[in-house]
Every structure is written in structure tokens, then in C-alpha cells.
Amino acid sequence: MTASVPTPPRDADAWARPVERLSTTASGASRDTVTGRRVVGPVQGFGQMWQKTFTVRLDGIDADPESVVRHWKERFPSFWPRGARFYAPLSGIQPGEVALLEVAPMPGPVRMSTGVMVIYADRESFTFMTPEGHALSAWLTFSASRDGDVTVVQAQALERTADPIIELTYLLGANRANDRFWEETLANLARSLGVETPVVSAHKVCVDRRRQWRYFGNVRKSAALAMALGTMTAPARWLRRHRAARD
């Protein structure tokens, strides 16, 4: 009698393997605040839960979903708005890889060093999860599909802000700034594929209005807070070093 070997499901190669702590092969970022952290999703976030869906139709462009997603993966950083940086891992956007990034978590001069883990990638979509310390506890899925004769590109976020401070900034305008980030990204992608005047549609749903107060303590790991404190105390540190050198 021979034991039957179960056939692996067809999504087996698309998913990352579970990891307890993150590590990355990405380089170039000013700081790595990701190594040693865990991934988080909307379940582990603090703020209200939003589902944001941004789409752009590639009218008149001869590009199937697979070629669009391949193009997006290969040149992912180039579509981000100016000022945001994405440092891809050595093997690119592949399941299990961790990228580093530098973005402004809120309007102003504070830059946040953080990252994302690629938890899923197939020929027509890929998904990121954020690490502890990121402003958002989120899943971000990027995909392309066919609607009749037209390829439609989509970015969808399922997110909560990670902690109360970021939630406050969301209420004060960071939520809208985050929307603009993805709208601009999709418009840049569409332009790169030949769409002259891309029209990005946004659909936002507050899936859960409640805040998860048990995750209040996420603020301790906030990369944005660490960067803000570092920026604010920089003059005092400089003065201290300057005086020490003089003495």
C-alpha cells in the first residue's frame, strides 16, 4: 500500500512562509527599523478600520493584467510620489521578502523609516503587510484584472492606524494625505503605461468605527514617534556633543 501524497494547493508558491521576526536584504535606507519586528495586520491595529480601494482604467492601452503587474513589481518604487522612498529587497517583490521605506506619516518634515513584508505575490496581484512600528497596521493589495476589453489596475488597503497618535493625525488630515499617496501612485503607473490623463477612482468604507483600545500600547513601538522625538531633541544632542568637545 502506498501513502498518497497530498497535492499542494495552486496558491502554495504565492504565499510567504510564516516568520516570527522580520529580516531584510534591502539596502540603501538611512535606518532599518524593521529587523527583529513582527508583521501586523488590521487585527492588531488601534484605529478605525478602513477599506480603501483605488482603481484606474487603462483605456486604449494594450496591456493584459499579468504584464501590468509584472511592470508594477519591477518598477514599484518609481511610481511613488516624490519624497517617498522604497528600497526593494535583492530578489524584488517576492513572497517572504521585506522592503524598507521612508515616508512622511503625516504632513510635515518628519520622515518615518519603516518597511513592508511581501506576504503574497502571484502573476496578477501582490500583497504587503506592515511591521510593528509602522504608522498603519495594514494589508495592501495591488492587482490588475480585466473589465471587458480594458485592464483595470487596483490598489486596496485594509488598514487601521497603529496607535492613538497616528489615529489623531488621521483625524487631522493624514487620512486624506494617505489617499492622495495611492491616487498619485496609480496615476503615475497608468502614465508609465501610456495613459495620457489617468482618472483614479477612490472608494472608502469605514469597516469598523470602533477603536481597539487594547492596542493603545502600540505607541511604544512607533517609528514615527521615535523619528519625531529624534528630530526634536537633535539640537540638544548637538549642543551636548559640542560642549563635551570644547571641554
Partner: protein, 114 residues
């Protein structure tokens, strides 16, 4: 593409949603409609993945929104019939911290009635 069908089975202490086929972003209406068929007063919903053939990241996103709906209704979400592969995915995505995973239906129903 095989699509999704879901049997809704009221049990003693929970409602079981037996999923056949695949769970993707396109399964939203099917999954939410099946959830909506749970009898009033259902305290626990058991997702039976024994016949799950495929789940992509869009499908996992649906599980999160279903989890939120269940939590808002004061219900617990449980899962059975997960292969090792799909157990790993729930671990990877840390959904296993919010969805109770059990080996089989009797274990899940016992947990639901506890």
C-alpha cells in the same frame, strides 16, 4: 476557476459555513450572504475549510472583514478543516490570534458552547 459555494448549517451551539471551492476577493457576496443566513442569536460562526481549494490574499482580506462583522455582532469566529498550508497562512497573517482554530467540528462546537 471553480467559484465558491457555501452551505449554511445551523448546529447546536453555532452556525457552520461549509466552504467549497475557492475564496478570493470575488467571493465577497457569497461569503457575506452565507454569513447573513445565520439564524438570529447565533453566538459562534464556524468556517469549515475542508473543501477549500484555493485562497489568495483577497480571500484573506474577506476573512478580516467577516471577523469584524462577527465581532461587532458579539459573535466568535472559529475555523476547522484547515490544511497545514492554510494554517500557516492564518499564522503568517496573525489571523489565528483572532479566529479560533480547531481540528474538527466536535472540537469547534464544544469550544462554541463553552
Amino acid at each position: 476557476m471553480t467559484g465558491t459555494t457555501i452551505d449554511v448549517i445551523p448546529a447546536s451551539s453555532a452556525t457552520i459555513l461549509r466552504i467549497h471551492g475557492e475564496i478570493t476577493g470575488a467571493s465577497e457576496a457569497t461569503l457575506m450572504d452565507a454569513y447573513g443566513e445565520a439564524p438570529p442569536g447565533t453566538r459562534s460562526v464556524v468556517l469549515d475549510f475542508s473543501d477549500l481549494e484555493y485562497m489568495n490574499s483577497g480571500g484573506i482580506g474577506l476573512l478580516v472583514t467577516l471577523l469584524v462583522r462577527a465581532q461587532r455582532a458579539g459573535q466568535r469566529l472559529l475555523a476547522i478543516g484547515l490544511s497545514e498550508h492554510y494554517r500557516q497562512i492564518l499564522s503568517l497573517t496573525r489571523l489565528d490570534e483572532a479566529i479560533g482554530i480547531h481540528d474538527d467540528e466536535p472540537a469547534a462546537l464544544a469550544a462554541a458552547s463553552a
